[in-house]
Subunit: 263 residues, 2 copies
């Protein structure tokens, strides 16, 4: 754990009590002792130094102190997030349990800003009935991945959304890239699409849509495209959804870094 | 399974007997019946149509017929592999069991030509003692991933190699890219390195080296760099080895496709 993520209820209090899984991790796994300072980060992105005052059987109390600017221990905080950088929002077709969790973990680690599960017609996994508990589970995975990776981006989990409602949710549909396994008439290379988007506005959000195990139906893709979304075809093998998600996220991020650093 | 991979012992015989796991998969899982033709691929990359003649309790026999050119059922075979394309060789720091298997699976699916496990000083997994059985296991994972993904690249598994012996193994060390978690003085962007390599020779092999869970030591990296290897730093978060491997493979492949298609 490179940086501890403070609970969203934290509001700058001088002292904080940590219980449950976090307590277990800090005390039993990392074996932190009283008076040990460690770096923490609040939901608003600010850094704090926590110093353990007392360790009990089930909880610990720690003093908090705001760190101005960047915390020293997060040397991973990279220049690409310092200046202008568009938030990347991953819309991921709902996949089976473990796959979805792997994708959320990898996207968080890569520095994706928001991950929303998407329900579409070929989804084999349907979480509609247990949505709330599943979203909470995803939030915990994000939190653990943020702690382990020290990513400076405070990744959020979005609500489950139906693919038919994406057009309503996305403000600027021309900034939605649909990764499809079949080349469309309108498909351009990912790089050329991103170059256009970064030219138009280097800091406006870019959204990615990756299909579930079964992919998207052609109708789903054409509906999005008719509303302005850009189909992307990677000119590589057809990938499993977990590989496609990591490839789409890593490629988008790296192309944007290239485009912004050449500016 | 999009294409069945023939055993390496297959040498164009008119009839073939299939036993064991493959028999189970074809007959029990895919439920193929006598007279069903299916597409197969030999180790030399040629395509064959197999037609089942007889299904027994433990084995089946099938007639083989060479398919000229590309088999129709492998619509996934993409243009990027048709023309000039450099083979990509992934040298992957030995990681714990499941991670290593995930990496091999994803790299095969992406169309990496060869994957060699590398032993280095921070490796937590050491397979030296059980090398033979482990390499065979990796070969099976590759075979399954080839069958599932229908990748047109016949991925090979290389022998376990010690990082200190890489300089001897790699013919042209300037085509070895070392993905390191720390930016080096000589680090350039992956794209600019690949542009130079493709300009020099668009069809000569490009090798990637990705660290194990613990990363590489600075000495290991500087030794390789002093022999001509190129350090690459992705300007993103520090990634777990399994995410780094997929990102490195997908980025390299996509940049090469971009470079060759703009030519």
């Amino acid at each position: 754990m490179r940086v501890y993520i403070l609970p969203s209820s934290f509001n700058g209090e001088k002292e904080i009590t940590i219980k449950g899984k976090d307590f277990h991790y800090l005390v039993r796994v990392l074996r932190l002792k009283p008076h040990t300072p460690f770096t923490a980060r609040a939901a608003d992105g600010t850094f704090w130094t926590l110093t353990i005052k007392k360790i009990g059987q089930m909880s610990l109390t720690a003093e908090t102190k705001r760190v101005e600017g960047k915390a020293e221990s997060t040397t991973d905080t990279l220049s690409c997030y310092d200046g202008i950088f568009p938030p990347i929002h991953m819309y991921q077709g709902m996949s089976k349990g473990k796959k979805m969790e792997m994708i959320i973990k990898a996207c968080t680690e890569l520095g994706i800003h928001k991950i929303s599960p998407v329900h579409s017609s070929f989804c084999v996994a349907d979480i509609t009935a247990k949505k709330q508990s599943r979203i909470e589970r995803y939030q915990n995975i994000v939190k653990e991945a943020l702690q382990q990776s020290g990513s400076p981006v405070m990744t959020e989990v979005g609500d489950l959304i139906h693919i038919g409602d994406l057009n309503k949710e996305i403000e600027n549909p021309s900034r939605l890239l649909v990764f499809h396994q079949v080349p469309q008439k309108e498909s351009s290379s990912l790089f050329s699409i991103l170059r256009r988007l970064i030219d138009q506005d280097p800091s406006e959000k870019i959204s990615l849509l990756v299909g579930p195990e079964g992919g998207f139906s052609d109708d789903e893709v054409s509906d999005l495209v008719s509303h302005g979304a850009r189909p992307v075809f990677l000119h590589t093998n057809i990938l499993r959804t977990e590989t496609a998600a990591v490839a789409a996220a890593a490629l988008t991020q790296q192309y944007v870094i290239d485009l912004l650093s050449h500016k």
